[in-house]
């Protein structure tokens, strides 16, 4: 099968190359040729694995979504304190950044501004939004806050804000100071302290 047995499967190479280039330079600005060159893959091979550029874009977003969800699951499994679990979204994205090295902010946010309506990749942007909304809502409920929806919305606002600022920092490098994610986490913790209604342990 693979001519070079030591290299990764061709589909993985394509997703790696496309993911990095789309994220670094933008989806529209990245040509198929650039992906092919970086992945060292022939054009016909790409179209044998994907329906086209749109399909490749959707596949990279799908993989990114699953990786991000897996990292969050992992972080969540390490926590037991309800408030810690609520704040884990910030730690998960920090860990995901360390692994994937995404300095340009949220890939889904960037894709949301680039993809037209009806693009096959849109479903993964929706999946990301849904995951964030529903999971934060559930965690807020488990933490015993008075209004889980309001807390989830608030945390989501801080989460989006941190990732959006990361995207802006790439353009305005050197102007901002510190890590937006750390600041957002601290602010969320402060804000939560006033929102969490201590629950009597049932036992």
């Amino acid at each position: 099968m693979p001519r070079d047995a030591a290299s990764r499967p061709v589909r993985e190479r394509l997703l790696d190359a496309a993911g990095e280039l789309f994220y670094e330079y933008g989806i529209a600005a990245t040509g198929v040729d650039a992906v092919l060159t970086r992945a060292r893959v022939a054009p016909a091979t790409l179209y044998a694995h994907f329906s086209g550029k749109d399909g490749l874009v959707a596949a990279t977003l799908e993989r990114r979504f699953r990786q991000w969800q897996a990292v969050w699951d992992e972080v969540l499994d390490e926590r037991t304190d309800p408030v810690d679990r609520l704040l884990s979204v910030f730690d998960a994205v920090t860990r995901y950044r360390a692994v994937e090295g995404n300095r340009r902010g949220c890939a889904f946010l960037a894709a949301a501004t680039e993809l037209p309506p009806g693009h096959p990749g849109q479903q993964w942007l929706a999946a990301d939004s849904r995951l964030l909304t529903e999971r934060l809502h559930d965690l807020a409920g488990a933490a015993g806050v008075a209004d889980p929806t309001a807390v989830a919305d608030g945390l989501l606002a801080l989460y989006d804000g941190a990732l959006a600022r990361l995207a802006r920092q790439a353009a305005t490098s050197g102007l901002d100071t510190g890590d937006p994610l750390h600041r957002a986490r601290r602010m969320a913790a402060d804000w939560l302290a006033g929102q969490v209604r201590p629950v009597q342990p049932s036992g």
Copy 2:
């Protein structure tokens, strides 16, 4: 000069058309032809007024920056209470949205993900970041908060978060409920209540 005296000057028409199309469909996805058609302008005329597409992009961002700054100035002039003035950034963007009708979130945030480094439009993204950072810092200082930098950063996070969520809502329409800007403003007000150190009036 203008063949059709009733119409706006050709430069304004170009900026109007380009601003709307770039904002609605993205910068890279909008061809020069689409701008020319919408503005009813000949190709040579565009290149007589701007250095090219990049120059047109930069000019639309410049105009947007100045309009946004003017709206914020206007809102600020109506306020005297220091906390109200601090929260005016949310009201200004709400007013700007009503005037300009920008349902797809922050144009500068979108441009930050689309424009390559060194693009002539980057300076206006930097100007927007600087305006937000410095003005919020000054207003926080005037409000007598303990740590103006921390307060400015916090408000900036909520501001970015609200505009980022607007961008995502365009893709995930119908999933989110309510106005992110209103939620962010309320959350900012709550958060500020714990940050503002009441200052003794000097008189």
